[in-house]
Symmetry: C2
Subunit: 724 residues, 2 copies
């Protein structure tokens, strides 16, 4: 997919301001004021029909009258006038526009939505890039370009920030105006390096994916923070997430909509449909996108991602001046799924070489409060940096007024400069501004919570694992090439012929094309035919009503299990048909499915849900009580190969049930993996057609004995849906 | 239990300093310097044999030569000299001493431990209260008494802190010197009111429970923060936790030792045995002690606990100026187990009365960024305060430079003053110092993380629930009065007669005294006798080896299940005896237990573990795969009545399995509750004798059909253990 050229937008030669005002306490006035305050060196042209100057800046009468080519127009005028202004911009050759105005799709009613559609239409028709509407704007540090009315910018810090020579700046993309600059505001306090902060507003044209693409390709960006209410192009996002993995640039996302109330707020706020949170979670997990739960969590991770060497393993060493805090940190790190291994005797010996007897050398290294009067901290860091038995280290101090850090800086600098593993500093008192500056100079991230280092290391370790997985197996294309070209045709033919709900007998036919077989069964019309079919299949059998109008057969008395002879079958069939006819007189009855009972096995459910954002998502859950009581379900987007299918199995909390346990045999995981791959292949072939597939239950038998798909339901979309 | 009188320690009339030094950069010098800097108004007497004055403060030649009665001696001299100094203090009538010196039990070796035992002995023998050794000291704000060398005190803030008129100050008790004052340092930044900060060091005499007792009874303390490596008196702690519940004063605890590495650090650091983390967790949960995972978490909870009315329910209303942040907060609050209910039509109508159409009224209330120019925030708060359908509210703003708050303060003040529900303020930008001060003046807690308000409200809601539970049922005394006085005697007689491990046949006898019955069974010696016993019991039967040397019967081939006739029984018995004789020739064999097979039911495990800190802990877990794979276990300390037993059942994640599910019947929870009560009664009667009881599995049958204890193991302590 082609990258959009955003250079005119982010690095304009000149900026025009449509809707400039004198009053700096108002939004329109503030935009101009901040543009000036930021120190942007390109041309600034307020457009004003009557005034010669606004806020002392000379104006132009119209956009067409600008003395130099304008690459970016900032638009802050009433919503109704925006389309006309954009047309004029396009006429004048302006390449991009940022619309601050609100009163579009974020409001109730059809008129505002139509207005937004017009904006989008102008952007596409005239080839002008439009950001917003309803945006708080952006800040490009490299250009000192503050095209925003956000009050959360510390302008005094901008020149220092611009002059930072790091090649691993943090980019911020936010669908919430407030949050984007709040993250920036918080990150500055930590001396983190930022590149571009963008709030995308209603995303009529330019969306979060466009900006993400730009940032990933930017050589000076090392990590991206995103606040997301909805991803408008799921497929594009997946491509970008994979690109980020390849580049080793973590995407750290806050995505709202986990709860009903959160979804209510997001939907109302953005006026857009969004996929299920479970689908987002599945995509994030699969492609190493790091999901964070709080603002400081995002910055905790971004700090380590941009300041430290990559995390390569789970073994963390701790150096502390307080035994109590060291123990607490060890608990926190272990709680995050990392290891705090006891050091080898050899390493402990090396540490004891400089540490007095009252210190502890095992991990955590407790250098005790005495360390403020000697070099034990430096020597501990040096020793752990050289040790092969840990992958990262956390150094615990009290930096409220630690003069020691200033003294140690010279000794630490060469160690830090050549470090091969992450070194994270944590202060249990609130660090002084001076201490923060010392650490920033050294290039070490400074943490003020126990959670921070633990979260950062575990998140970046998961990112590294996802990265390794992505490079191990070159991911298959979005739609799996189907060796059986006719399978797809055959499946679609059956789906075309069927109604929205395929009852089991029809679903079985579709599944069979992909090699997914249910137990032997026959569709019959009468009790007598049922008995004959049962005799042929062998006992015991199950009897199931087949009606597209009654997808939940059990709930309507449409399933009888374990029938042992022909008489029982005939009797049950008669009773069932009579009951259904009475209770559901209008239901179209295809007949009765007589099915050989599958022998018991480990019960699972497998399925597909076509997500509004990400397309087909394959799900796997432990069945019976596990899925209903414990909600133990794993999910992944397409494509699904055997490796992915096995990973999906291992994601279940109850995955241990697949292995030999208390004398019970291990389960046929290979058969299950093949089932998932076939299911995904069907879902991919019929993408946009199938809304959901439920295989419930699937009995998985001991290793080598395969599995049985005991029941199956397929539901189609009322009309084919286009991939997002 | 009597409270120790700590008034001489915390509110001394005069303080002597043994080990005063001139150099303020050294610990000994800093203690005197900070004592003076704090502004303590009592007498300060440095003891020095030769100097007339230290740091300009006139000295005394000896403690006996002090011109006025000294209530507290601060001791900062080499460890070896401490006992002699304490004796001299006692001779001079000094009531208490605080020992800063290290070199005691925190160091390796027996000499330092013996030195600490001497300190403890002097305290007990001479009736002098001794804090420490190895303490960082304490701060009593009311007395401006800084008896500490902690560098984390902002002395300029002390007078303002002392003059705060609140009756709900925060007390801090820390077994880690660094952490106690770090919490204080962080809390000051939040404008929280503190009373006393105490670091207890090695707790040779004065321990955390003594201080907790003092703080709970202090009328000006509203909540207590504790950092705990080990609780030395579990029984006392439980009493205090119950007292705290009764008083409505939350105890907020950080307890390390959740992980192996954390335990390693805690044990090495404090040189003391500690109970299992699971036992601490069980006690905390039972008695409403709030466990926190990070420093700011502790302060987040303490802020709401001391500034807000009690939390009475789970329904939270949200008022926000940013839709995105509002949605994220809703997710966070819902994720913490609270509700963010959609408002009733009537309430939404009232809100729409003042909110323009572009806002949202459903919950969260999105007053939008326009709110900075009107009174929507005040009116929203007023409306929610008056609404019966929510129990607490969170107000979201950007306080980095919100001038609005100053303007709104007058309007908010009367609402806040009369509020009946907690109002929590959250700023998504870092709040300015001015904004913090405004909120502090209003008496509203100010949060800077999404997690903060969610955590505070959910923790305090759990505290309120524990409080309600504690008042509903007046808790039984620690040792349950046994109506069957002879039961205890009979049980102890059997335990006396048995070895450390009671095999099933003996355990069954003990359990039977308390009405806990296993399936019908007989102990036999020979295969022939086994067959006869089986015939009498009825088939199928199980055969189990009985040997105190082979407690894990299954692992050694000592269990055969489902034997269907006499021949099978005799054959299995012969094989088993031969196999055991060969594989374990030295094991003492009591015989074979022939037991009627219990019919299948819902498998559970129930048991007791005698915890080193808290005594017997009753555990309940889902059996089979659940306990091994999912580790779904709940635990509670004694006493256990029927209500407690039912709560224990409901704590299991898989508790839904007890209820009717997918056609399966509900389980006999009443029978299970009775089993737990009986088990707890036995554990209480035999406290200090029984190390563990395992009933595994217990088959629980459908409602009204009872349960079966299929296997039982009791292990005794080698020698009776005293209750901690």
């Amino acid at each position: 997919m082609m990258q959009r050229d955003l250079s005119a937008f982010f690095r304009p030669r000149a900026v025009a301001l449509i809707g400039a005002a004198e009053d700096k306490t108002k939004i329109r006035g503030r935009i101009l004021a901040q543009l000036v305050m930021g120190g942007y060196a390109g041309g600034i042209f307020p457009i004003h029909a009557t005034h010669k100057a606004v806020q002392g800046v000379p104006t132009c009468k119209s956009i067409a009258a600008a003395p130099r080519p304008v690459d970016l127009a900032l638009v802050a005028i009433p919503a109704a006038s925006v389309p006309q202004a954009l047309e004029e911009c396009a006429d004048a050759g302006v390449k991009s526009a940022l619309v601050f105005s609100s009163g579009f799709a974020e409001e109730e009613g059809s008129a505002p939505r139509e207005l937004q559609a017009r904006v989008r239409d102008i952007a596409r028709r005239r080839g002008i890039l439009v950001a917003g509407p309803n945006s708080v704007g952006f800040l490009n540090v490299a250009e000192l370009l503050a095209a925003t009315f956000s009050p959360a910018i510390d302008f005094a810090a901008l020149p220092r920030l611009r002059d930072n020579t790091t090649s691993r700046r943090i980019g911020i993309i936010s669908q919430s105006g407030g949050l984007g600059f709040a993250l920036f505001n918080r990150g500055l306090r930590r001396h983190l390096a930022f590149g571009t902060i963008v709030t995308t507003g209603n995303e009529a044209d330019l969306d979060a994916c466009d900006v993400l693409d730009f940032m990933l390709e930017d050589e000076r960006t090392g990590a991206v923070l995103m606040f997301v209410e909805t991803i408008r192009r799921g497929r594009r996002f997946v491509e970008l997430a994979r690109r980020a993995l390849a580049l080793g640039k973590p995407i750290i996302v806050a995505k709202i909509g986990r709860s009903t109330a959160g979804t209510r707020a997001a939907v109302s706020h953005t006026a857009s449909l969004t996929g299920s949170d479970a689908a987002y979670e599945a995509v994030f997990r699969r492609y190493g996108v790091i999901r964070a739960d709080d603002q400081e969590d995002m910055l905790d991770i971004a700090a380590a991602a941009t300041l430290c060497p990559p995390v390569t393993g789970k073994r963390v060493g701790i150096v502390t001046i307080s035994g109590g805090v060291g123990g607490w940190m060890a608990d926190t790190i272990a709680g995050a799924g990392l290891d705090v291994p006891e050091f080898s005797a050899a390493l402990q010996g090396r540490i004891r070489g400089f540490l007095p007897s009252y210190g502890a050398a095992f991990n955590p290294i407790d250098i005790t409060a005495q360390a403020i009067q000697n070099d034990h901290r430096v020597r501990s860091v040096e020793t752990l940096e050289a040790a092969d038995e840990i992958d990262a280290m956390v150094v615990i101090s009290s930096l409220v007024n630690d003069n020691r850090l200033a003294a140690e800086k010279a000794a630490l600098a060469p160690i830090v400069a050549h470090r091969r593993k992450p070194i994270l500093a944590y202060s249990y008192t609130l660090p002084s501004e001076e201490s923060r500056a010392h650490l920033a100079e050294l290039g070490l991230p400074c943490y003020t919570s126990l959670r921070g280092p633990a979260l950062a290391l575990s998140a970046l370790h998961r990112f590294a694992m996802a990265r390794a997985a992505a490079t191990q197996a070159p991911a298959a294309p979005w739609v799996i090439p189907n060796k059986l070209a006719r399978a797809r045709e055959a499946a679609l033919r059956l789906l075309d012929a069927a109604g929205p709900t395929l009852c089991e007998c029809d679903a079985q036919q579709v599944l069979a094309i992909y090699g997914i077989q249910g137990p032997p069964s026959r569709l019959v019309k009468t009790p007598a035919a049922a008995a004959i079919a049962a005799d042929a299949l062998g006992y015991p059998v199950a009897l199931k009503i087949q009606s597209p109008d009654l997808p939940h057969k059990s709930d309507v008395g449409g399933v009888v299990l374990g029938l042992g002879d022909a008489e029982a079958v005939a009797g049950a069939a008669e009773t069932m048909l009579a009951h259904i006819a009475e209770a559901h007189p209008t239901a179209a009855i295809r007949g009765l499915l007589v099915q050989k009972m599958a022998r018991p096995g480990l019960e699972l459910i497998a399925g597909v849900v076509d997500d509004a954002t990400f397309g087909p998502i394959v799900t796997l859950g432990l069945g019976g009580i596990h899925v209903e009581v414990l909600r133990d379900v794993a999910a992944t987007p397409l494509p699904v190969d055997l490796v992915t299918a096995e990973r999906l199995q291992s994601q279940l909390r109850g995955a241990a049930l697949f292995r030999p346990l208390r004398g019970a045999p291990g389960r046929d995981c290979a058969a299950l993996a093949h089932l998932l791959v076939r299911l995904a292949r069907l879902a991919g072939d019929a993408a946009g057609r199938i809304a959901s597939i439920d295989l419930n239950p699937v009995m998985v038998y001991p290793e080598g004995e395969g599995l049985a798909v005991v029941d199956a339901l397929i539901v189609q979309h009322p009309a084919p849906r286009e991939m997002p």
